[in-house]
């Protein structure tokens, strides 16, 4: 199977005055077309940075990123924006919908930047919203929707322009476990029925296991598996997070 995403020896260094922080230290990662991959690791392991690279939101300090065979590491902001708009659909932990717009307008927005005509945009947005079973909530604003519904609007927005890759950054992080698992089921179904490539970042083992494959990230590198210490660290983090939410 062809690689749709390839990260080759990717370094990302943040210059914090006197200190240099290496978020990624020679990361190598391949995502095959049609694959459902989970990137797992503790906080500070560089998984969000990796996700930003794959999503063309950021370029590496050194190294190369190939999206569908094209090197994006040297591209300018406008080109990156166009690639994001055409090839990538984002799903964020906090949904990131524009609160001043209705669900349908939110889904139509990425299509606007693709210069589609209004009627085309409306049709595609309606299709996507019906697919996430929100056909009857199209004219509601995010504030009038539950968390699970908002995340489904975000999924519809990510799907609207039929992207090559869906990037989900902790898609269940802001949802209760029941709603979270229904969103995951939805992603799973999407992957199985449409063959959509999905890359999901999570620090939750259970969530990660919904994917076909798990890439473990530690200290800005892919490791074969997480050692016991790290696994414990993640568990403690998860418990603390649940406590905070409660």
């Amino acid at each position: 199977m062809k690689n749709i995403i390839e990260l080759k020896d990717v370094w990302k260094t943040y210059d914090m005055g006197e200190m240099k922080v290496h978020a990624l230290r020679g990361l190598n990662l391949e995502v095959k077309k049609g694959e459902f991959l989970a990137i797992m690791g503790p906080s500070g392991s560089g998984k969000s940075t990796a996700m930003n690279m794959v999503g063309c939101l950021d370029v590496p300090t050194t190294g190369h990123i190939f999206l569908d065979g094209k090197d994006i590491s040297e591209m300018g902001e406008s080109e990156l924006a166009q690639i994001r708009g055409k090839k990538i659909g984002f799903i964020f932990q906090k949904f990131n919908l524009l609160t001043s717009m209705t669900a349908k307008e939110n889904v139509m927005l990425p299509l606007t930047f693709q210069n589609l005509s209004r009627s085309e945009r409306e049709e595609l947005a309606e299709q996507a919203l019906k697919m996430v079973e929100l056909g009857d909530r199209m004219y509601h604003t995010p504030n009038e929707l539950s968390g699970g519904q908002q995340q489904r609007v975000a999924i519809a927005r990510a799907l609207a322009n039929t992207p090559d890759v869906i990037l989900a950054d902790e898609p269940t992080g802001a949802l209760d476990s029941k709603t979270g698992s229904s969103v995951l089921d939805f992603l799973r179904e999407l992957h199985e029925t449409r063959g959509t490539t999905i890359v999901m970042v999570t620090h939750d083992e259970k969530v990660a296991h919904k994917a076909d494959r798990i890439a473990y990230l530690k200290d800005g590198m892919v490791v074969n598996s997480l050692d016991e210490d790290t696994t414990k660290k993640i568990e403690i983090q998860n418990k603390e997070m649940q406590k905070n939410e409660a």
């Binding site: 055409k86 717009m101 209004r118 322009n161």
Partner: protein, 407 residues
């Protein structure tokens, strides 16, 4: 796409109603002031143009030097009937007439009195030249005749003005310099208080009540040129002959020869300077308004950092973000412009109403040509876009990762 950005801009402005309105005040005050000023100035210019057409381009005015706008200033050597004869003899001059005037108290009834211009002119075959220039037409009664003794034709205000306790009609009497005059005619409205309070009497009566006046002197002389003659050419000829007649050297003339066009032009020049100064002052408030827009847009960019991050993540290019914010600030300006035009037009109309009804003047007219409205709206949009460019640039240059991270 632009249509969607415009819709987005309106939605965003609508969401921040109070802030939008406060920002708008800064713009519409300036626009309203400019629109009102230009409207009234244009109305005044239209009035002058119409006046010029009515007076005709074929007339020349001869005044004693330095008296163009100072009515009762008789210090320079006055013009004389000999000057009238000289001008009549100039080739190309069709007809010549002159008039004299004094300012006196006019009294009538129990306690009514007013300070008015008492005018006389020869009631010969050339009288129509003066009647054209004063634009006086008889509303009630009849014109003055040579055989009239102490009879007068008076201005429109004596018939109508509220400031008198008793208004006058033909047959009533007024007293000037102790002599009683019977009103035989009342002129139609001319437009200014000075004109509408004037009293016209015969030359005999005039020199009777002003015995110190030299019968050979005249206040001003008017000439009409033959058809096809250029007034400017005739002006030169008159100047040359008058120098000879009055024995003065070129450059030391104690008289002024001007066409009506010159007169109106010199007046317009002064008026235009006043206009530019006033609009300049109003312009300062527009700059302040623009800075208000800039401030509002900087706040909006800051508030919507996350939204900018989201839009960039889902495919908005830097240029898209720039356009979205520039359009928003442009429309902020345009909305201020719409309000400003409405308020400015209302203001100009109110001044016109006040002018006509409280001061009885025809000079204050509000004109709203299409170019003023379109210009004001276009300028307001431009102003908004211009002052929104810097905030919009900041928005467009945001790093999507950082923008997404803000809460």
């Amino acid at each position: 796409m632009i249509k969607d950005y415009i819709k987005m801009a309106f939605e965003n402005l609508r969401h921040r109603k109070v802030r939008t309105f406060l920002t708008l005040i800064g713009i519409f005050v300036g626009i309203a002031a400019v629109v009102a000023l230009v409207s009234l100035a244009q109305g005044f210019q239209n009035y002058l143009d119409a006046e010029f057409k009515e007076l005709g381009a074929d007339k020349i005015i001869i005044n004693p030097a330095g008296s163009s706008f100072g009515l009762n200033d008789r210090t320079p050597d006055p013009l004389t009937k000999d000057d009238v004869a000289t001008i009549s003899a100039v080739k190309g001059v069709k007809e010549v007439s002159s008039y004299s005037f004094q300012v006196s108290t006019v009294k009538w009834g129990r306690d009514d009195q007013t300070f008015a211009t008492i005018i006389t002119y020869p009631l010969d075959e050339n009288r129509n030249l003066l009647e054209e220039i004063t634009t006086a037409t008889i509303l009630q009664g009849r014109k003055l005749k040579n055989t009239d003794g102490f009879k007068a034709v008076v201005g429109y205000d004596y018939l109508t003005a509220n400031r008198f306790s008793e208004n006058l009609i033909t047959g009533k009497k007024i007293t000037i310099e102790g002599k009683e005059f019977e009103i035989v005619g009342i002129n139609d409205k001319i437009g200014s208080q000075q004109d509408d309070e004037s009293v016209f009497i015969t030359e005999n009566a005039y020199f009777d009540i002003y015995p110190d006046e030299d019968k050979n002197d005249v206040g001003a002389i008017f000439a009409r040129v033959h058809e096809g003659e250029a007034p400017a050419d005739i002006v030169k000829k008159i100047e040359k002959d008058l120098r000879k007649q009055r024995d003065v050297k070129e450059g030391e003339e104690d008289f002024e020869v001007t066409t009506f066009e010159d007169l109106i032009q010199s007046f317009l020049n002064i008026f235009n300077i006043v206009q530019v100064v006033l609009i300049g002052i109003a312009g300062i408030s527009l700059v302040v308004g623009g800075i208000g827009i800039m401030n509002t847009m900087y706040t909006a960019v800051l508030e919507r950092t996350k939204d900018i991050g989201i839009m960039k993540a889902i495919g908005a290019k830097n240029s898209d973000v720039l356009l979205i914010f520039v359009i928003e600030s442009g429309f902020l300006g345009l909305m201020g412009g719409v309000l400003g035009v409405l308020i400015g037009a209302g203001l100009a109309k109110a001044v016109e109403y006040l002018g006509t009804n409280a001061f009885g003047t025809e000079l204050l007219k509000a004109a709203l040509p299409w170019w003023l409205i379109a210009g004001a709206l276009g300028f307001a949009f431009l102003l908004g876009s211009l002052f929104g460019t810097l905030p919009a640039r900041r928005a467009s240059k945001m790093n999507p990762v950082d923008a997404l991270r803000t809460e």
